[in-house]
Amino acid sequence: MSETQAGTGAATAAPALPPVPAIELDGVVKEYVARGETVQAVRGVSLSIAEGEFFSLLGPSGCGKTTTMRMIAGFEEPTRGGVRLHGQDVTGVPPNKRDVNMVFQSYALFPHMDVWENVAFGLRRKKVPEAEIRRRVGEMLEIVDLTGREKRRPREMSGGQQQRVALARALVNNPRALLLDEPLGALDLKLRQAMQIELKRIQREVGITFVYVTHDQSEALTMSDRIAVMNDGLVEQLAGPREIYERPATAFVAGFIGTSNLLNGAVERIAGGFAVLPLGEHGRVLVEAAGHSPGDAVAVTVRPEKITISTEEPAGDVSAVRGTVSEVVYLGTYNSYAVKLGDVAEMTVFQQNAHDSTTTAERGDSVWLSWQPQHSYAIGS
C-alpha cells in the first residue's frame, strides 16, 4: 500500500527528485553486550547504495562488515540509527519480509535437500506456481552452470559448485538487492578469479544491486562500482576503486589498499602551484598546493609503481628523494626495490621488466627516486 503511494508521490515530483537509493544506512550503530562488556561492532555508518550498483564493503577482519550486512538483511537490529530499503524504513521488519537475499560466507545450504530443492526454497515460500518454479529454477541452474546436477546433495559437491548453488538460491528470487558476505572466501585462487568474473557477469546480466563484503582489496577494486573501506566500525573512505587506490583519504586506507609509501614532512613554502616539503639531505617532495599553507605538517603517500629510479638527480618539478638500495626482489613481470632514506623512511619501488631484464640498481647503490607531484597525496592521519 504505502509502497504504491510512495511510488506515485515520486512520479509526480519526478524531474526534481533523484532516484530512490536501494539501500540507505543512517548513522547506524550496533552494540553487542558480551560478558557484561559493551562492544561497538559498528560505530556510526551512513551510506547510500544506488539501484543496480556493485557496492563493496572492504576492511580487515573484525571491522564490522558482517554486522553491517546482517543489519541490512534483518538478522540484527541497529542499536541506533536506521536502515531504509528502497526508501522504506525497515526497523522491526523480519528477514523473511525484506526483499533482499543473502549469500552466506559458509554457503549455509540446506544439507537435507538436493540442489533443485535448495534453489526452489524461496520460490516455494512465496507460493509461486509450480510450473513457474520449474522454469525459473531451471533457468537459474543454467546461468550458474549446474544443469544436470539437480539431484545432488550439497555434501556431494565441490566448494565452487556449492558456492554457485548458494548464489542461485538467492538470485532465483529476483531480490531487489543481493548481499554477499565474502562469498569467495573459501575458494582457491584460480577458482576465485574465475568466480569473480562470473559474479560480475551475472550482476550485469540481472542488473540487481550487489552489496559485496570482502577483505580482499584486489577483489573489491576489480569488481566494484564503489567501495566503502571500513576500519574499526567506521567507514574511512567511500569512493570508486580508482579514487580509493589513487587518492586514499586516510593513512589507514593508504596502508590497507595495495602497497603504499608514506612520508611525513612539513610544508616549507608554496611555489609554482606546489607545496614543497623538504626532507633535508634526502631531497624534497612536491604536492599540489591546493589546501596547504607553509608550516602544515602532512603525510604524503605515493604508490610504488609511480616511482622512477635513476642514478642522476632528476630535473624539473618532480618529487625527488635520495636513498640507498637495501633490497632487490625479482617478481616476474617487475622488480621490487626497497630503498632506505636514512632513518626517515623505507620506500618500496616497483619497476616493470618490460624491455630490459637487467636491474636498474643493485643492493647498496645510492639512487634517486622521483615521481610526478600529482601522484602523491597529502592525507589526514
Binding site: A73, A108, M113
Partner: protein, 283 residues
C-alpha cells in the same frame, strides 16, 4: 596386519557379546522348548507348543505393554523435544549444566526413584492429600494403581534417553542454515518445520528406539505404581522365572517379546528410515 586391524579392534567387544549375549540367548532358546519342573529338572523335548500357549494366555499383557510403550514414547517426544531444543539453541554457555540436570535422576537408583513416585501419588500423599482436603478432587480419586501412573512412571524414568539423542541432533544443526531459511522468506514456524525438524529427525528416531524398547519390557513401574489391571509382560516374565520357576514359559515369553519388538523396529526403520523422512520433508 593392516587389513586385520579393524577386526582386531572389534575383537574385545565381539567376545563380550558372544559370551554374555549370544551364549545365554542360545541357552534360553533351548530352555524355551524344554519340559519339566525345577524339582525333577527340565529335558529338551522341542515342545514348541509353549509359544502358542503363552501367546494365547498373555495376549492382553502383550498388547498392554506395547500400548504403554507407544504412549510413553509419544509423550516422551512431546516433553523431550522442547527441552532439547531449548538447551541446544538457548542454553548458551550453560549447556553442560542443563544436560547434567537432565541426567541427575540417574544418580538415584531406578527402584528408589519409582518408589518415591509412589509416595508422591499416594491417596494421602503430598499431591492428592492437599487437593482432597481442599475438596478440589473427590475422595474416591486415585492416582496410584492407574494406567496414568504407570505410563507417567515410564516417561519419567526413560525421558533422558529421549532428550539426549534429540539434543545431539539439534546441536549439529548449523544456525546459519536456519538464518538462510528465514532470509528466503520462511517465517519462524516454517523455518522450524522445513529445516530444524527434518534435520533433528535422526535424533528423534534414535530416541524412539532407546525409549520404546525398555519401556515395553519394563516391569518395575507396573509393579510399584500400577494395580492388577496394569500388569505388563515384564511382570509376567518375572513371575514365571522367579516365583513360579517355570523357566520354559519365562523363556518363551521373553523370546516372543523380543521377536515382536525386532519385527516392529525393523518395520519402523523401513517405513520411517531417516532418508525417507528427509526426502518427504524436503518438499
Amino acid at each position: 596386519m593392516r587389513r586385520l586391524t579393524p577386526y582386531l579392534l572389534v575383537l574385545p567387544g565381539g567376545l563380550w557379546l558372544l559370551v554374555f549375549l549370544v551364549v545365554p540367548m542360545v541357552f534360553m532358546a533351548s530352555v524355551s522348548t524344554q519340559e519339566g519342573d525345577v524339582v525333577n529338572g527340565f529335558v529338551q523335548t522341542f515342545h514348541f507348543a509353549t509359544y502358542g500357549e503363552v501367546l494365547a494366555q498373555y495376549q492382553t499383557q502383550f498388547l498392554r505393554s506395547v500400548g504403554y510403550g507407544l504412549a510413553g514414547t509419544v509423550i516422551s517426544i512431546l516433553i523431550a523435544y522442547p527441552v532439547a531444543y531449548w538447551i541446544a539453541f538457548k542454553g548458551g554457555s550453560r549447556k553442560a549444566t542443563y544436560l547434567l540436570l537432565v541426567l541427575l535422576p540417574f544418580f538415584v537408583s531406578f527402584v528408589l526413584r519409582t518408589v518415591s513416585w509412589k509416595f508422591l501419588l499416594a491417596d494421602d500423599g503430598i499431591v492428592l492429600g492437599p487437593l482432597k482436603s481442599a475438596g478440589l478432587v473427590g475422595e474416591d480419586f486415585h492416582l496410584l494403581q492407574t494406567t496414568a501412573a504407570v505410563i507417567g512412571g515410564l516417561v519419567y524414568n526413560y525421558l533422558p534417553f529421549m532428550v539426549l539423542p534429540i539434543y545431539v541432533a539439534l546441536e549439529r544443526v548449523n544456525p546459519t542454515v536456519i538464518e538462510a531459511a528465514r532470509d528466503l522468506y520462511a517465517p519462524r514456524a516454517v523455518a522450524f518445520a522445513k529445516i530444524v525438524l527434518p534435520l533433528s529427525l535422526p535424533g528423534v528416531f534414535a530416541g524412539v528406539l532407546m525409549t520404546f524398547v525398555p519401556m515395553t519390557s519394563d516391569y518395575v513401574n507396573a509393579a510399584i505404581l500400577g494395580g492388577p489391571e496394569n500388569t505388563m509382560i515384564g511382570n509376567i516374565i518375572q513371575t514365571e522365572y522367579l516365583v513360579n520357576n517355570d523357566y520354559p514359559v519365562g523363556a518363551a515369553l521373553s523370546f516372543t517379546l523380543m521377536a515382536a519388538m525386532l519385527i516392529g523396529i525393523f518395520a519402523y526403520a523401513r517405513a520411517l528410515g531417516t532418508e525417507n523422512v528427509l526426502e518427504a520433508a524436503a518438499r
